[in-house]
């Protein structure tokens, strides 16, 4: 099966006032459609940077990135924004919901950016909220929700637009263990039932215990790529 995400000799060097800091140093990686994969490693190992570059949020200093058949590292801002909008779902560590929108409007936000008519986008967003078990919170504002509920809304926002791949940057880092575990189970279920490709960055052992593959990063290099039997 052709990979949905691919990185070839991926390098990223940050430069600040003449000081160069390598974040990724020649990372090679392939993720197949339907995989439930985690990128693990200590803080500063380059996990988030890798996800940002694969998700077209950032550009590499050198190397190639591919989303399906399309090479993405050379795209301009507009084309990368278009790809993010149509092909990729994001879940962030800090939830990053829009505080003035209701849960339903947050879940429908990407669909609104896509220009989907209001009725259709609300139907699809509501379906995503139902799948995540938070349909009853649809008309609340984010500040009326717990952290776990907010992260579920963020997942619903990512899934409502039916992206080819969901990139989640430390999605359980701000959640207590029970809420984190519930969210993991939910994403795992969506992966199994809908075949959505998930790629996480995490150092949360609870999440690592449930993924099918762990790519370990250290100092910007892949040091291990393990297939595991998830619980």
């Amino acid at each position: 099966m052709k990979p949905i995400l691919r990185a070839v000799r991926l390098t990223k060097v940050y430069e600040n006032e003449g000081v160069k800091t390598p974040a990724l140093q020649g990372v090679d990686l392939e993720v197949a459609p339907g995989e439930f994969t985690a990128v693990a490693g200590p803080s500063g190992s380059g996990k988030s940077t890798l996800l940002h570059i694969l998700g077209c949020l950032d550009t590499p200093t050198a190397g190639e990135t591919w989303l399906g058949e399309r090479r993405t590292d050379q795209l301009d801002d507009v084309a990368r924004a278009h790809l993010r909008l149509r092909e990729i779902g994001f879940v962030f560590q800090a939830y990053n919901l829009i505080p003035v929108l209701t849960v339903l409007e947050n879940a429908a936000f990407v669909l609104e950016l896509q220009g989907v008519p209001k009725k259709v986008r609300h139907e699809r967003a509501m379906a995503a909220l139902e799948a995540l078990g938070i349909a009853d919170l649809a008309h609340r504002r984010p500040n009326q929700l717990s952290g776990g509920q907010q992260q579920r809304v963020a997942v619903a926002r990512a899934l409502a637009a039916e992206p080819r791949v969901v990139l989640a940057d430390e999605p359980t880092a701000n959640l207590d263990s029970k809420t984190g575990l519930a969210l993991i189970e939910l994403m795992k279920k969506l992966n199994a039932e809908r075949g959505v490709t998930f790629l996480f960055s995490t150092h949360d052992p609870r999440l690592l215990a449930h993924v099918k593959r762990i790519i370990r990063l250290e100092d910007g290099r892949v040091v291990a790529d393990e297939r595991v039997d998830a619980a």
Partner: protein, 408 residues
């Protein structure tokens, strides 16, 4: 997008209300300003033309020749007949101005004796405007006179007293006695102290039988300000039938300084309104930019989720438009209410005499046209777009990863 913009605008109620209030004040002020400038223009025009006409016909020999004879249009009746044959819907005032010495029982003074005859509507308007006591000399009378109030005071005369006029070097009797039948009030004291009014016939018998020094043509009296094109067209028609012996001047040519002042009012009004909106716009810039700085992380998320640069810029512009249009709506209400309240006449307390002295209308009747309301709204919309341009540009250039790491 608009619902999101509306909610974002009211995140910081106080700050948004201040900016909104500034816009409302600018809109209300501009609307009221438009109303008053328009009223001033109309008032000035009325003051200027009601006593001198939209067109003035004088002797072509009068220019540069101060002597009485050169100023006369002889055979005024023929000139008038020719004029009325060409111009139908106009009213005429015939004027004969005679420099003279006027005397009461004890005092005398140099003065300008004005013989005047006019169509009924013009006569009534002149009397309504200027007669302070008594009445105007009856049409055709040879022995009645009305004096400016200040002149009457200077001569120490009252209604019913005899008045003596000497006009040496003229072509009529050159001297006559009259009864004072009216006292006249004029805005300019300098005019009021040197003017006396007779009937036209009375003045002609005194100084120049059958002649006038000026014919005034009044277009559409009481129907607002006639367009310059109509006045110019009427002037051309009048000049064509009257020939070279007389000179036809528009009110602009007869009073170029006042015409220039009137012409300056529209550009002046535009500049003033622009300055007001620039000041309000600065507050809007401040509000929108602070809102942007506080929400950089949020914009970063939107960009990360796929909002392109133009979409983000449109969001910022929409917020500015929502803020400014809310202020505009409030400003239109306030401005409209003020103008409606003053529509029956606004008088600046204590300034009547000062305004009148400068030939300015004492009572203003402010009103605004739909075009002026549209122009005010256009100013506001332009302010909203201009004020948001820089914050929108900044937002559109945000890089998602950096923006999401931003701490306000």
């Amino acid at each position: 997008m608009w619902a999101l913009a509306w909610r974002n605008v009211w995140r910081h109620k106080t700050r948004s209300l201040v900016a909104c209030g500034a816009v409302a004040a600018a809109v209300a002020f501009t609307l009221v300003f438009f109303g008053f400038v328009e009223a001033t223009k109309t008032g000035m025009f009325e003051v200027l033309t009601s006593d001198s006409g939209h067109l003035q016909i004088t002797s072509s020999r009068a220019e540069g020749a101060p002597d009485f004879d050169s100023r006369l249009i002889r055979h005024a009746a023929q000139v008038e007949a020719a004029l009325l044959q060409e111009l139908r819907d106009v009213q005429l005032r015939r004027v004969l101005e005679v420099p003279a010495l006027i005397s009461g029982e004890t005092r005398a003074r140099g003065a300008l004796v004005v013989g005047m005859a006019h169509d009924d509507a013009l006569g009534e308007r002149f009397a309504r405007k200027h007669v302070a006591a008594g009445r105007l000399p009856a049409p055709g009378s040879w022995d009645e006179i009305a004096l400016g109030e200040a002149l009457a005071r200077a001569l120490q005369v009252e209604l019913g007293d005899p008045i003596y006029v000497f006009a040496p070097g003229t072509e009529g009797w050159g001297a006559a006695a009259y009864t004072l039948v009216g006292l006249l009030d004029f805005p300019q004291t300098s005019y009021e102290i040197q003017v006396a009014y007779l009937s036209l016939e009375g003045a002609q018998v005194l100084a120049a039988p059958g002649a006038v020094t000026r014919l005034e043509v009044h277009l559409s009296p009481g129907r607002g300000v006639p367009a310059d094109t109509l006045i110019e067209e009427t002037k051309a028609r009048a000049a064509a039938v009257l020939g070279p012996d007389v000179r036809v001047q528009t009110w602009r040519e007869a009073a170029p300084d006042m015409a220039a002042m009137l012409d300056m009012m529209d550009p002046g009004m535009t500049i003033f309104a622009c300055l007001i909106f620039v000041l309000a716009g600065l507050l809007v810039v401040n509000t929108i930019y602070l809102s942007l700085v506080e929400r950089i992380r949020e914009f970063g998320v939107m960009i990360a989720l796929g909002a392109d640069r133009w979409r983000v810029m449109r969001m910022v512009l929409a917020e500015s438009l929502v803020l400014v249009l809310a202020g505009t709506a409030a400003g239109l209400l306030v401005g409209g209410a003020l103008i409606a309240g003053w529509a029956d006449g606004f008088r600046m307390p204590g300034l009547d005499e000062v305004l009148a002295e400068f030939g300015l209308p004492v009572v203003l009747y402010p009103s605004v046209t739909p075009v002026q309301v549209a122009v005010t709204i256009a100013y506001a919309v332009f302010t909203a777009l201009a004020a948001a341009l820089w914050p929108a540009w900044v937002a559109g250039r945000l890089q998602p990863v950096e923006a999401m790491r931003h701490v306000a």
